[in-house]
Amino acid sequence: MNTLNLLESQLDPNQAAINEICAAGEPWVKQIKRGQKFRIVDLEGNQAVDTLFYNASNALEHYSATDTIRRQNRLYLSAGSKLYSNSGNAMLTIIADTCGQHDTLGGACAAESNTVRYALEKFPMHNCRDNFLHALAHDPLCQQLGMSKRDLPSNINFFMNVPVTKAGGLEFVDGLSAPGKYVEMRAEMDVIILISNCPQLNNPCNAYHPTPIRLLIWD
């Protein structure tokens, strides 16, 4: 096992301006201002949290997996990682992390990809892209920016473990995360957070049992 880059936060949850629960399998949208700090807590462990970030005034600028990967020469996210936009701007910086490794490659599950990955009969199962599209259709923050499926790039999967081998293999495996582990980031610009608390039941990314997450924001 490699040494993980773990860093605890000094922030007090009792001082948080926002402290909410997002139930298993649901979307969650919030705007945070530059300088605010945002924490996701994996309450019960091994819960993939599919996450996208948008410039709060212009959805054309959003989190970019390829910019985040190539600008830091690294696949995984942990304390100190910056989350870059498709315009090359640092949108957020990870300032604390008790999990140690988060995925940039796995993207979001969808009804269509579930038919490919598991079985044609999996089409009706709830999935992250449905959550994203539901949020885009209903959330005022997303509506104001005129967002659609076209604005859904490849997302971060917090708490998900997708190791890549030197030979070029890739697997979804049981998570490094555990109950109470968290990741915390500071916004470097005003951003909209779009989350799907992943409902996937067909692989170990949620330990076959999706669970709620806690979301905290500090001024």
């Binding site: 940039t104 490659l105 990955r117 030197k166």
Partner: protein, 241 residues
């Protein structure tokens, strides 16, 4: 694929240039690295419904791979396949590092604008694809994680990346056998992690052939690809490619 398959058209793309076009299902596009060290940044879109596009995550996780080579398929975000990689003498094609952009090219190689350098000016991957996308009514919202054919980037256990210079040799080629009518946009600007000290993007050659019978079976050793091809055939009313 043998050379005797019917050649439909061919096109040379100098290094640093860009191209786009519709590739019909049932045809195979051969990309050849002319001098070695080329990079071909590529995105695919469904010609009929351009909201359907190449999806890096679905392509990788459906095939349990971090790299693309012969036997892999390029998946859309709608559970379908744009094309199968039916030949690859390179062995590793990157799909996670994205595109070079104007800032990166200037930082690494300096500035070379048209006024002084004419068509030897330095072009970058992002602006090149934006120009090609613009021809089809697409733009920045349609830039997603692309494939970098001919380029190899490996990751160690911590996820640290290494660019492998010289991965592709002169004459190396990749065959893409299309099973969807596909808009392909292409840039031959340098890979963003290219370790070369000077701006020397490699030229490529495109040749389009009729796909030989049974060619796509190359990709059907992966069960996920059988299901994705099933979805693709549904889209075209069940017709085999």
């Amino acid at each position: 694929m043998n050379r005797q398959n019917t050649l439909i058209w061919k096109q040379s793309i100098p290094g640093g240039c860009h191209w786009s076009g519709i590739i019909r299902r049932g045809t195979t596009l051969r990309l050849t690295d002319v001098n070695g060290g080329a990079n071909a940044a590529v995105l695919f879109f469904n010609q009929e419904e351009k909201l359907e596009r190449y999806n890096m995550a679905d392509t990788l996780k459906s095939q349990h791979t971090f790299h693309l080579t012969k036997g892999h398929a390029c998946h859309s975000d709608m559970g379908r396949i744009f094309c199968c990689i039916t030949a690859d003498t390179v062995g590793w094609n990157d799909t996670v590092c994205g595109l070079s952009d104007a800032h990166l090219i200037q930082q690494k190689y300096g500035a070379a604008r048209y006024q002084e350098h004419r068509n030897q000016m330095f072009r970058n991957g992002l602006d090149s694809l934006l120009i090609e996308l613009g021809k089809w009514g697409l733009g920045m919202r349609d830039i997603v994680a692309n494939i970098n054919f001919f380029s190899k980037v490996t990751a160690d256990a911590l996820g640290e990346l290494t660019f492998h210079a010289g991965n592709s040799k002169a004459g190396d080629y990749i065959d893409l056998s299309f099973v969807m009518n596909t808009l392909m946009v292409l840039s031959t600007a340098p890979h963003p992690l290219d370790s070369g000290k000077s701006y020397q993007p490699g030229a490529i050659h495109l040749e389009l052939f009729d796909t030989p019978p049974e060619a796509v079976t190359e990709c059907l050793r992966i069960a996920e690809n059988i299901r994705a091809l099933h979805n693709t055939q549904h889209f075209y009313c069940g017709n085999m490619t």
